[in-house]
Each structure stands twice: as structure tokens, then as C-alpha cells.
Point group: C2
Chain length 194, copies 2
């Protein structure tokens, strides 16, 4: 019989580092969404992740490193599966976005992205990637009916139905508000523009 294959020490080490990164990243994201930016300290996240502060400082020396790690652990945004009916698809996607705010505190993530994206290039890149993913379905559905400035206006308007109440009133839109917003956009886009 051939001897049992032995684990490669390098791959054991790589797996350990990947596990640490994953554990700390998930804990950091959890702290960010449940407690907000002010709690994003090495002490708080070390405790939440069950690692030493020394380990955290070694791999992620600054608070910005911890925020970047947390945002990297953010999975894809929740999305609606398209049916081909424009009004249904837009309303479904806005409800999925609203669900992300209610279930995953996406609004806190958006605030951190807005706050840091303005001054830190590394966060701006993460923000752009998250926004492209977040807007993807809305933009794809709307692109069948509009282009250029009209398309961009429609994307911002429908995103605004969820973003504005979340950030400016601390609330989310009702089903009826979502439906009325979709009606406004659909009725205008099915009419030829200038």
C-alpha cells in the first residue's frame, strides 16, 4: 500500500492565515453594522473575533485596514431575480434593497462608504465595486428603456427611493411608495423621451 499523503506545511500555514482573515473580517463587519464606525477599534474587534490585539495589529495596523477588511468580507448585495416584467423587476429589486437595510444594516455600510470613499482611494475603490453590484439589476432593467443621462437619472431616482428615507429619515419606504415610484418611472420610460 502507498504511504498516506502528508499535509504540506506551507498549505497548512496558508489555511491558518486565511482562517484568521476570515474570522477577523466577519467580526469586523459585524461590529461595523451592529455598532457603527465609532466601535471599529482593534480592542473591540479582537474581542469580538476571539484573537489577540497583537495579531490584529500585526496584520491590520490601522483602523482603516480593519474597515477595508470588513468591507471586503461583505458578500454580494441581495438581489431580485428578474422575471422580464419591467414594473415587477424594478419593484422586486427595490424591495430586495430595502431588505438589505432591514436585515444587514446596509445603510450603515453606505454611510461608511460615503464618509471614507470621499477621502481614501482604497475605500473609494471598494465603494465603486459595491455600488456597481448594488445598482446592477436596476441599471440592467432600465437600460432596455433608456440610455445616457436619462438612464443615469432613472437609476439615481429609483435608488433614491430607498437611500433617501434610509439616510435622511432613518426609515425605509413602504410597499406603496415603492410601487408609486416604479409607476412614475415606467410610465415615463414607456413614453418616448426627447
Amino acid at each position: 500500500m502507498a504511504p498516506e499523503p502528508q499535509p504540506d506545511p506551507q498549505s497548512v500555514e496558508d489555511a491558518r492565515v486565511a482562517r484568521t482573515r476570515n474570522d477577523v473580517g466577519r467580526a469586523a463587519l459585524q461590529v461595523l453594522t451592529s455598532e457603527g464606525w465609532e466601535s471599529m477599534t482593534h480592542t473591540r474587534i479582537a474581542k469580538a473575533a476571539g484573537y489577540s490585539k497583537t495579531t490584529l495589529y500585526t496584520h491590520w495596523p490601522s483602523r482603516l485596514d480593519l474597515v477595508t477588511l470588513a468591507l471586503d468580507c461583505l458578500g454580494g448585495m441581495p438581489h431580485h431575480t428578474r422575471t422580464g416584467n419591467i414594473a415587477e423587476d424594478l419593484a422586486g429589486e427595490l424591495r430586495a434593497f430595502r431588505g438589505g437595510i432591514l436585515d444587514f444594516a446596509l445603510d450603515r455600510i453606505l454611510i461608511v462608504l460615503a464618509q471614507w470613499g470621499a477621502s481614501v482611494d482604497e475605500i473609494a475603490e471598494i465603494r465603486d465595486r459595491i455600488v456597481v453590484d448594488g445598482e446592477g439589476v436596476l441599471r440592467a432593467v432600465l437600460a432596455e428603456f433608456a440610455e445616457g443621462a436619462r438612464l443615469q437619472a432613472a437609476v439615481s431616482m429609483l435608488s433614491g427611493v430607498v437611500v433617501c428615507p434610509a439616510l435622511m429619515y432613518g426609515t425605509v419606504p413602504t410597499d406603496e411608495e415603492i410601487d408609486r415610484a416604479v409607476e412614475i418611472v415606467v410610465s415615463a420610460l414607456l413614453t418616448p423621451g426627447e
Copy 2:
């Protein structure tokens, strides 16, 4: 001849306190909009206002007190003067909002309001007051053509044309994007809803 009236010591003291409050508040607002939340410390604002740290700590013990003071010094939002033409008024108001972001860093104020309004009641009250003022003209123009959920949807959608690019892309909408957004809302609202 009657003797010259003497200044009342109490009113001299009141004037001095009001002047300090005004100086520190304006400096705090300036630091907030030009440098962002992270710079809102007693040391930085004392230096910017030309007062001692002791004075600042005496009147405004916490960073939150300084933020509240800064936001209290924010004047009314820039607004368009209504002409009675719905499309002109909505586009003019969105351009005024965009001007506030470009000229007064209103986007940084919105981020602070969103960030703190979610957890601090005192900031939530200031946020609500600023949002009511900020949305006032849009809401008044739209209220002539819509009500209830349809009105709220239209307010969020048009606010979103400016808020979403500012917070999510770090940019502002073009004139053409504003015009196309207004067209979408006007063409839908001039059609009877359900």
C-alpha cells in the same frame, strides 16, 4: 442733560457668551465641512476659532456638543425662487441643492446627519429640521400634483438625483441628468395616477 445710559453688566456678559458661541459654532461648521468628522476635536476647533481649549470644554464638554453646535450654525439650505412653472421650479431647486454640495460641502453635512441621527436623538431632531427645510420647495411644488405615497415617492426620487451621486459616486449630477429626471417626474405626474 440726562446722564448717558450705562451698559447693563448682564447684557454685556450675554453678548460675550453669544459672540463666543457664534465664533466657535462657525469655526466648528467650517472644520466639519472642510475636514470632516474626524477633525471635530476640541483641540482643532479651539485653534480654528481662536479660543482656549478650556473655554470649549467648559461650554461644550463632548464632541457631540461640538457637532450639535456646528449644525445649529448651519443657515437655511440654498433654495430656488419659484416661478410657477413646475419643470423650471423642480430643475431650479435641484440645481440649488447641487450648488449647496459644491459650494458648502452639504454632502459632508448629510453624512454626519445620517451617521449620528441614527443613534443620537439630539442629532435626529436637527436632522429632521434640516431635511424638512431642505426638501421644502420640492415637496411644495410636487404637492400640487401628487399626494400620499405618490408625493413621498416623487420627493425621494428627485432628492435621490442629487443625493445618490453625491454619496455613492462622490460626484454631482449633470444639468442633463437633472433635466431628464424632472421630465420623468413631470410627465408621470401630469398623467392621472391609480
